[in-house]
Every structure is written in C-alpha cells, then in structure tokens.
C-alpha cells in the first residue's frame, strides 16, 4: 500500500518540467524551513498591535522549543532504526541528489508540521495557513523520490507530537515565554 501510493505520486515526476522544478523548490531542505523562519522573524518584530505581537512571540518561542524537540526525536529514531530510502530498494524517479540519512521519519516533514502546529496552538488562522505549505512539503518529498508516504506521515506525527508537548510545557510554565519577551522588550528587540 505504502509503495503503491509512492509509485503513483513519484510516477508523476519527470513528466512536466514546471512540476519538477516546483517539486524541487518546495521539497528541497532549505526553501520551506527558511521561508517559515523568515516569516516568523518578521512576525516577531512586525505585528503592529502589542497584544497580538506578544501572542505571536509566544507562538515563536513554542516553535523554537518544538524544533529542538523534534530534532532530538528524529535523530534518536535514525539511531534506533535505519529504513532504507525508496531509491535504494526500487527503481524511482529521483529528482534531487540522494540523501544519505535514513528514510523514516521525514525530517523536512517533521520540521514543517512542528512549525505549523506550534503556530496553530496559539494563532489559529496563521496556523491553518502554514499547514498548507507543510502538506506541500510532505507531498513533494514523495514526488521527489526520497521518502515513502509513511515516512512523511511519521514526520508529521513527530512534528505534531513535539508541538503539543511543547505547548503543554509552556502552558504549565507561562513565566518562561513571559520572561523571554520581557528581556527582549528591555533591549528593544520585541
């Protein structure tokens, strides 16, 4: 089933030059994490209303924590279980250079969903918007031939879990984000 879905999505690769380029852009390891990061950086400074800005800043602190947690979880899973990439086991349309780390879970997918879910916990409209590029990242990784669908689903689950855990942690200890924002305001950076 996993391989069948993979074959169907990856089978679309190499048929349309524009689709291939779009897949390479969205699914490469730099584009979406950097775009998410720059967007959140802009929100940290650029929200006009102070209350809304502090809400966004709390969300960004949650994102940073969730990213740290998901990175640890993903690397721990890589250490415990090394699933071979699809291009090592099957004949696939590989559109980017072959990654050398294990296939499960998808790191890109876990990062994208950790960001989107962490923002969604505090800012629902923006979180919903960020879920769309996160889904596109997951889809593109299968399209590019570097992950099975179960890898990106696993990555999404890791991302959601990390953001829920960090959100719970920050709710239990609200003084942490408040203190960080207060320090940043004291040096005119928030």
């Amino acid at each position: 089933m996993d391989y069948q879905i993979f074959s169907w999505i990856n089978g679309l690769a190499g048929q349309n030059a524009f689709l291939d380029e779009a897949g390479r852009l969205i699914g490469n390891e730099f584009f979406m994490p950097s775009t998410f990061g720059l967007l959140l950086f802009g929100l940290w400074i650029g929200t006009r209303d102070r209350v809304a800005r502090e809400k966004n800043q709390e969300a960004i602190i949650g994102v940073v924590l969730a990213l740290a947690l998901v990175t640890v979880l993903v690397n721990l899973t890589y250490f415990l279980h090394q699933r071979p990439r699809p291009f090592l086991a099957h004949e696939v349309n590989l559109l980017i250079t072959a990654p050398t780390d294990p296939s499960f879970p998808s790191n890109s997918s876990s990062v994208a969903f950790a960001v989107a879910a962490s923002v969604w916990m505090i800012n629902r409209p923006l979180g919903r918007v960020l879920l769309i590029p996160a889904l596109l990242v997951a889809l593109s990784r299968v399209f590019l031939g570097v992950h099975y669908p179960s890898d990106v689903l696993g990555g999404a689950a890791f991302g959601f879990f990390s953001s829920i855990a960090c959100s719970y942690f920050l709710r239990r200890f609200p003084a942490i984000p408040v203190s960080i924002i207060r320090v940043a305001r004291n040096i005119f950076l928030a």
């Binding site: 490469n28 390891e29 730099f30 950097s34 400074i45 650029g46 250079t97 050398t100 570097v146």
Partner: protein, 131 residues
C-alpha cells in the same frame, strides 16, 4: 557560507519590511516607507533567486542540521547590522524629546524605535547616561 549570506540579506530585508509596516522610522535605512517596502521586497526576491536558482541549489539535499545553527546566527547578525547601520544613518534625525505614543514613552519595547535610534534608546536606558 552561502546559506548564511542568503539568510543574512533576506533577514535584513524582513527587518526593513517589518519596520516600514510598524512605522519604526529610526530602524529604516530609507526615509520613504513606500520606497523601503519596494527595496526590501526586491532584496528578498534577489536573495531567493540567487540562492535557489543560481547554482542548482534547489536540487541539493545534504542534511539540514547545519541550518539549525546558521539560521539563528545569520538572523542575529542581520539584526546587529541593521541596528548599527540604522543608528548611524538616522543619528542626524532629530530625536523626539517628548514621545508621541504612550508605549514609546514607557521607554521599552521595539516601539521606542519610532521616536529614536537604537543607540539613543540604549544610551537613554544606561545608568551612565542618567548620571
């Protein structure tokens, strides 16, 4: 290094966009807000084009862990660069002695940059300047 430069220039542009949006006049390199919007947007587009479309970087997949270090380093560097350069550029502008907004009058937060440069705000806050 290329990734650092991409994030550095894009972050400088994001800070200028955010500053223009919030009307943080003393954070901007260019006085005209509309021009600031246009130049910042162009710098973001140029940074993305250079990094992703020149040199085939969109097809690379080499493990993303370095991003975890380079992204915060580059954004921090861009913030320091912007605060330093905007303080120099706007040092000639007359600082508003009686702040217009209540928030800026409180003397904390980024809103202060509507009324004075970062350097002036830091000096106003430092005990040495008060004595």
């Amino acid at each position: 290094m290329e990734y650092f430069l991409f994030i550095f220039f894009a972050s400088v542009a994001v800070i200028q966009l955010a500053g223009a949006w919030q009307n943080l006049k003393f954070l901007l390199f260019v006085r005209n807000r509309a021009l600031s919007f246009i130049l910042s947007s162009l710098l973001i587009i140029a940074s993305y084009y250079w990094f992703f479309f020149l040199g085939g970087r969109q097809a690379r997949d080499t493990g993303g862990d370095t991003q975890l270090l380079l992204f915060p380093a580059a954004t921090l560097a861009s913030m320091v660069f912007t605060l330093f350069l905007s303080s120099i550029i706007n040092s000639g502008k007359k600082r508003r002695e009686t702040p217009k907004s209540d928030v800026a009058a409180s003397g904390e937060g980024i809103e202060v940059l509507k009324e004075m440069t970062y350097w002036q705000a830091a000096r106003r806050k430092s005990p040495a300047d008060k004595n």
